[in-house]
Amino acid sequence: MPMSTPLHPFLWWVWATALAISTAKANSVVLALLTVTATGFIVVLKATPAPWRGSFRWALKFGAWVIIIRVIVGVLIGVPVPGRTLFVLPMIPLPSWMAGIRIGGAVTAERLLATAHEGIILAAIIAFLGAAASLTSPHRMLRLLPIMVYEIGVVVVIATSLFPALITSIARIRQAQRMRGQNNRGIRSWRKMLIPLLEESLARSLELAAAMDSRGYGFSRKRSRYRPEKWHTGEYAITCICILSVARPQYFLVLAAIGPLFSAPARSVKTLRGAIG
C-alpha cells in the first residue's frame, strides 16, 4: 500500500494565510486559541520528521514572547482606558505636545485585557505561519518556484541544508573539546570552536557547490520537472473551506483549521472498502 501522497506544499501556505486572515477578522481570543490548538494537532499528525519540523514549536515560543512584550508595552505606554483600576504606576511627565500619550499611570483591568487580547491574536497568526513552515519541505517548495528565481533557491538549498548540519557540528566540536579537557564556558571557548566550525562549514558548502556544478546545475537555462506537483480534490476542498472561513470566520474558522485532516479519510475509506470487499 503506497503512502498517502502529501498535500501540495503551496496548500499549506494558502491554509495558514486563510487562518491568519480569519483569526484577525474574527478577533476572538477563544476562537484564536481553539484554532491554534487544532493547528497543533495537524502539525503533530502531518509533519514529517525533518529539520524544519520544529518551526511550529519555535513559532509558539516566539508567540509567547510577543504576548509578554505586547502586554508590557501596552501597560507602560498608551492612551488611558477608563475602567476598574488594578494598580498605579509612577507616571513619567511628557512634553505638552504629546498630550493623550503617557508613560506609566493607572493600569485598568480593561487595558490589561485589551493588550493581552491583541497579543494573543498576533501570537496565533505567528503560530499559523510556523505551522505552515513545519509542514512544508523548503526543498519541495523550491522545486515549484519558477526557474527565474531558482538561482535564489539554490542559495536557500545550501543554507537550509547547511543550517541543521551546522547545529550538529557545533554539538560535536564542543563535545570533542570538552573531551580534551577544555572548559566550555565563556567567549574564549566559542572562539576556539569557531575555527574548526568555520573551516568545516566552508569546506562543506564548497563541496555541495561542486556537486551541484558537476551535476549540470545552471548549465541549461530550461529545467524540467520530475513528477509535477498537482492540485487534487483534497486540495480544492480545503481551499474552499479556507475561503468560507475568511468570509465567515465565526462559523468556519475551526473547521478550516482541521480541514487538512479530511484529505486522508477519503483514501482510508477506499482502503477499508478494498480490505473488506
Binding site: 519541495r140 522545486r143 563541496e207 561542486a210 551535476r215 549540470g216 524540467s224 520530475y226
Partner: protein, 531 residues
C-alpha cells in the same frame, strides 16, 4: 575515453606542482584505480576529469585533457554532466534534496530531460542498485552504505560514460564496501562503464581493477597493470606483502590466486602445531560497563551492555555502520549520559570529569581529529596542550616528533595531511598520559604508511578503538568485540573472533586458512621458526 597528455597542475599560492607531466589514456569499460599516499594529488586527478579542477578550485593547468573527445579546458563541469558522473568522498555533503527519488531526479531536471524519460531512468537505477524499497525515504535516515549507493545512483541516472569515485568505501564496513564494489564491478562488465576510483584500502579493490595509476611522493606517476605496479610499490595491500615475503614469482591479487600459489607451502606447514600467542589480559579492571543503555530521542542504541576492559588490552570494537560503536565509545568517554546502568573508568564516573583530570584519565580522538584542534599553528597547538595538561613545555612537541618526524611547527593544522593531523591530535591527547586511549574510526583516509605509524603509537597502552579496518585490527588488537543492534554478539581474543567470521577475516588469514595466522609477520615468524 579519457586522454591526459602532458598534464601538469599547480594550485594558486603554492610552490609545488600537484601533478607533473602526466600522460595516460583510459579506454572505454576500464576499471582504473588511482593510488598514492595522502596528499599525493589523487583527488585533484579525479576532479580534473570533469573539469572541477581548475574551473571550480582555481589553479593553472598545463597540457590537455580530452574526455570523449572534448577538451576540459573550454567547458565547465556542468557541460560534462551527461558524460562524467562524480561521487565525492563524503556523499552526504553532495546531496541537494532530502528524498531519495528527488535526489536521483535532480541532475536530470537541471539538464531539462523530459519527465517520462526521467521516470524510466529513475526506475532503472532504483532496480540496478536495489534501492527501490528506499525510494521515499529521507536520505539523512539511510545507512552509510545506502547513502553511497544513492550517490552512485545520482551519477548513473545521467547515463554517463565515465564514473569517478573518490574513496567510496572509506567510511563503510567490510560488508557494505563489498556491496558497493561488486556493483561497480557489474557496471563495468555489463554496461562497459569506465570507472576511475581512488582508494586507500587496496585490499578491498585490488581484485577488481584492470589498471592502476600510481602517484608517488614526488608526484611521479606510473600506470600499468596491478601486477606490474604492485610488484615493487611501497604502497601495497597485505596480500601483496605476503607474496613478497614468501618470494612468490608473481604477486597474487585475490585470495583465490594466492591460495593456488601457496598450496605447496601450506601443505608443508599444515603439519606444524598451531602457535597461538596467549594474549589473555593480566592487568586490573580499567573500564567497567554495567548493564548500560543509551540512546538519542526515542531511539535506544545500546541495550544492557555489560563489558570489562583490563589494563594493557587493545580492544577493537567492530560491527556494521549504525550498530552502536560510536555511541558505546561516547558513553565510555562520558560524552553522553547513560539512560540506565553505569560506566566507570578506573573507578570514576567519566561524565562529570573536567579539565586535566579528564585529560589524564581518558584520551579521546573523535572521528574528525580536527575537532580537537583550533590553534593557528602546530607549535601553538602543542604549547596549548602543555599548558592545559600542566606538563613541561615542549613535551607535546617532543611526542609529535617521535610519532611523526618532519612536521614543520609553523604549519597551520588545516594544511596537514590526514595522517599528520591524526598524529598531532594524538600527541595533544597523549601529552597528558591518559590511562585509557579511545579512538573512533582512526584509519579513515589514512594510507598504509600513516597506518603503520599509528600502529606503533597504539602498542603498549590501554586502547579502545572502533573501526571497520580489519587489517588494522589484525595488526594491533588483542581483543575484538562485535556489536550488532546495540548488543554484544561476540567477544574474545582477536585471533578467535576474526577467524570465525569470513566477512571480517583479514586477507592473510583467508589465504593461509585453516592456519590461524592474521598478518604477514605471523606467517613469516612461523616459517622462520620452523623451516
Amino acid at each position: 575515453m579519457i586522454t591526459f597528455s602532458k598534464v601538469s597542475l599547480i594550485y594558486p599560492n603554492s610552490q609545488n606542482t600537484v601533478i607533473e607531466d602526466l600522460s595516460f589514456s583510459v579506454r572505454e569499460g576500464e576499471f582504473v584505480l588511482v593510488m598514492g599516499s595522502t596528499g599525493s594529488g589523487k583527488s585533484s586527478l579525479l576532479r580534473l576529469i570533469n573539469g572541477l579542477v581548475p574551473h571550480h578550485t582555481g589553479g593553472i593547468l598545463a597540457g590537455e585533457i580530452l574526455v570523449n573527445g572534448i577538451s576540459t579546458q573550454n567547458i565547465k563541469p556542468g557541460g560534462l554532466a551527461h558524460l562524467v558522473g562524480i561521487v565525492g568522498q563524503n556523499p552526504l555533503n553532495g546531496f541537494v534534496t532530502d528524498i531519495v527519488e528527488d535526489e536521483l531526479a535532480f541532475g536530470m531536471e537541471t539538464l531539462n530531460i523530459s519527465p517520462d524519460v526521467m521516470r524510466k531512468r529513475v526506475e532503472e537505477v532504483l532496480d540496478l542498485l536495489s534501492l527501490s524499497h528506499l525510494r521515499t525515504r529521507s536520505i539523512a535516515s539511510l545507512s552509510g552504505g545506502e547513502q553511497q549507493r544513492v550517490a552512485i545512483g545520482t551519477a548513473l541516472v545521467m547515463h554517463p560514460k565515465i564514473l569517478v569515485l573518490d574513496e567510496p568505501t572509506s567510511a563503510l564496513d567490510p560488508v557494505a564496501a563489498e556491496e558497493v564494489l561488486s556493483i561497480l564491478h557489474r557496471l563495468v562488465n555489463d554496461l562497459a562503464l569506465t570507472v576511475i576510483l581512488a582508494e586507500h584500502k587496496l585490499e578491498r579493490v585490488i581484485q577488481f581493477v584492470d589498471r592502476i595509476i600510481h602517484i608517488d611522493a614526488d608526484s611521479e606517476a606510473r600506470i600499468g597493470t596491478p601486477e606490474e605496479i604492485l610488484k615493487d610499490s611501497l604502497i601495497a595491500p597485505p596480500i601483496v606483502h605476503l607474496a613478497r615475503a614468501l618470494d612468490l614469482p608473481v604477486v597474487g591479487l585475490s585470495v583465490r590466486q594466492m591460495r593456488r600459489m601457496t598450496e605447496p607451502l601450506r601443505s608443508r606447514l599444515s603439519k606444524l602445531p598451531d602457535v597461538i600467542e596467549d594474549s589473555s589480559a593480566s592487568g586490573s579492571e580499567l573500564v567497567v560497563l554495567n548493564k548500560l543503555s543509551c540512546g538519542y530521542g526515542s531511539k535506544e542504541v545500546l541495550h544492557n551492555l555489560s563489558l570489562t576492559i583490563f589494563e594493557g588490552e587493545i580492544v577493537a570494537l567492530m560491527g556494521r555502520n549504525g550498530a552502536g560503536k560510536s555511541t558505546a565509545l561516547r558513553s565510555i568517554v562520558g560524552a553522553i549520559t547513560p539512560r540506565h546502568g553505569s560506566v566507570t573508568v578506573s573507578g570514576r564516573n567519566p561524565t562529570n570529569m573536567k579539565g586535566e583530570n579528564r585529560a589524564q584519565l581518558i584520551g579521546f580522538i573523535p572521528q574528525e581529529p580536527s575537532d580537537l584542534l583550533y590553534g593557528q599553528s602546530v607549535e601553538e597547538e602543542c604549547s596549548q596542550a602543555d599548558n592545559d595538561n600542566k606538563v613541561a613545555p615542549g613535551t607535546t612537541q617532543a611526542l609529535l616528533a617521535a610519532l611523526l618526524p618532519g612536521i614543520s611547527p609553523h604549519t597551520h593544522p588545516r594544511d596537514l595531511s590526514e595522517g599528520q593531523r591524526l598524529s598531532l591530535a594524538l600527541s595533544v591527547v597523549l601529552s597528558a598520559q591518559p590511562e585509557l586511549l579511545v579512538l573512533d574510526e582512526p584509519t579513515r583516509g589514512l594510507d598504509y604508511t600513516a597506518k603503520a605509524s599509528l600502529v606503533t603509537q597504539l602498542r603498549n597502552r590501554t586502547v579502545l578503538l572502533a573501526t571497520h579496518d580489519v587489517e588494522l585490527v589484525a595488526e594491533v588488537a588483542t581483543r575484538v568485540i562485535f556489536i550488532a543492534d546495540g548488543e554484544i554478539i561476540a567477544d574474545g581474543p582477536t585471533l578467535q573472533i576474526l577467524l570465525s567470521s569470513p566477512a571480517f577475516a583479514p586477507q592473510v588469514a583467508k589465504v593461509m586458512a585453516p592456519a590461524p595466522w592474521l598478518t604477514v609477520k605471523d606467517v613469516v615468524n612461523v616459517i622462520e621458526a620452523n623451516l
